[in-house]
């Protein structure tokens, strides 16, 4: 559901150029989230295992799906507003600011959800494990944000046209 709603947001972004960019933008926005889930989360799971963190694969998968669902919901909700901007503003920089602003907001909410979902499981862990896991979590969130931003940068020409 989250990926579908993210695709709706991508379609709204693609309205600026129309045609095939409707599909490519839809795929691009979803791809940013999907790649984080498929590439970054498994890597994070390995790091967590090394740190002996009390977080199993099931909890990680649940946190990931919830984060994607929340981020997707926000993007889906903002899609009509973004569509209005995309088709009515003359200058490309406004579209870039609005589009990246929405992606940033959704990404932040998704990452916040991921963190909140996993944080309680660390309460009972030893202090050293807790600190190692927190550091790994911080590194993961930075990496996930960078990875998603890079994919969106490549896959969404409607956003980068003004830059």
């Amino acid at each position: 559901m989250g990926l579908g709603l993210a695709a709706a947001f991508g379609t709204a972004l693609g309205l600026r150029q129309g045609g095939s960019s409707l599909a490519t933008s839809a795929a691009g926005v979803s791809a940013g989230m999907l790649v984080v889930a498929v590439v970054a989360v498994p890597a994070f799971a390995i790091v967590l295992a090394l740190a002996s963190a009390p977080i199993d694969a099931f909890a990680l998968a649940r946190a990931t799906t919830r984060a994607i669902a929340r981020a997707g919901l926000v993007l889906g909700g903002l899609a009509p507003a973004v569509a209005l901007y995309v088709v009515t503003v003359e200058d490309a920089i406004t579209v870039t600011l609005v589009g990246f602003g929405a992606l940033l907001l959704a990404g932040g909410i998704g990452m916040g959800s991921f963190h909140r979902e996993l944080a309680p499981t660390l309460v009972s862990a030893p202090a050293a494990t807790r600190w190692a896991t927190r550091a790994a979590m911080l590194a993961f969130l930075v990496f996930a944000a960078t990875l998603a931003a890079r994919i969106w940068w490549i896959a969404l020409p409607a956003l980068t046209g003004a830059l």
């Binding site: 926000v74 909700g77 009509p80 209005l84 901007y85 503003v89 200058d91």
Partner: protein
């Protein structure tokens, strides 16, 4: 809607907490939504007509219609965003709850605009200049926005994420409302143009920039003399 229930408008103005609770409980929301839509269209149209009366002629119905369109359009575009924001910040309400809250807040907004309409009309009638009319209209909008905000705040109830939800609501509403209004301008009309276009296509900065420009122009002589 079998008839207009004036008591409902009274409740929206006098008992925002009660109305917001009814929206959350989905208690009789359909008639409330119908009345709210009526209030939104009526209030925005009349206020818009008063704004357009500065230029006169065809601008009166045009500005009225456009302002109603802007208000309804903004709420329609914002409703899905509000639904999503409320859900991710701990308020997983139904779409009907969110839309009814948005509509009653919009109705409160429009009813305040309706109250401000005679004031604006009198300002125009007394021969106020273009920039003063613009600032009075902006002030009326700000006041109406504040009253709508109080209803939304009560609608959100207590609980975590209230500030974030409200901040995002306001941000989205201002961005969408500003752009929708910008697309459908002019409302008052440029004093230097005798024949106003239905829609302006030129770039003129932005809405915030134009309001700021009008504040700066307040001290200067009005371009239109008193009748």
């Amino acid at each position: 809607m079998s008839g207009v229930d004036v008591a409902l408008f009274n409740r929206i103005l006098r008992a925002p907490s009660e109305v917001a609770r009814d929206c959350r409980d989905e208690h009789d929301v359909a008639p409330m939504a119908a009345h709210a839509l009526l209030a939104i269209v009526l209030g925005a149209t009349l206020f818009g007509a008063a704004v357009g009366s500065w230029h006169g002629g065809a601008q009166i119905p045009l500005a009225g219609g456009k302002l109603a369109l802007v208000t309804v359009g903004t709420l329609a575009v914002c409703a899905p965003a509000f639904y999503a924001i409320a859900a991710v910040f701990g308020r997983p309400w139904s779409l009907r709850t969110v839309v009814s809250l948005v509509l009653v807040a919009g109705a409160r907004f429009s009813l305040v605009l309706l109250a401000a309409t005679p004031v604006l009309w009198l300002t125009v009638n007394l021969g106020a200049g273009y920039h003063l009319v613009k600032v009075v209209a902006a002030l009326a909008y700000a006041l109406a926005g504040l009253t709508a905000l109080t209803l939304l705040l009560r609608g959100l109830g207590d609980g975590p994420g209230k500030k974030a939800t409200m901040t995002l609501f306001i941000g989205v509403f201002l961005m969408v409302g500003g752009q929708a209004a910008w697309v459908l301008r002019p409302y008052i009309g440029d004093p230097e143009q005798s024949d106003l276009p239905v829609l302006t296509r030129e770039r003129e900065g932005g809405m915030a920039y134009q309001v700021w420009l009008s504040v700066q122009q307040l001290g200067r002589p009005a371009p239109k003399s008193a009748p």
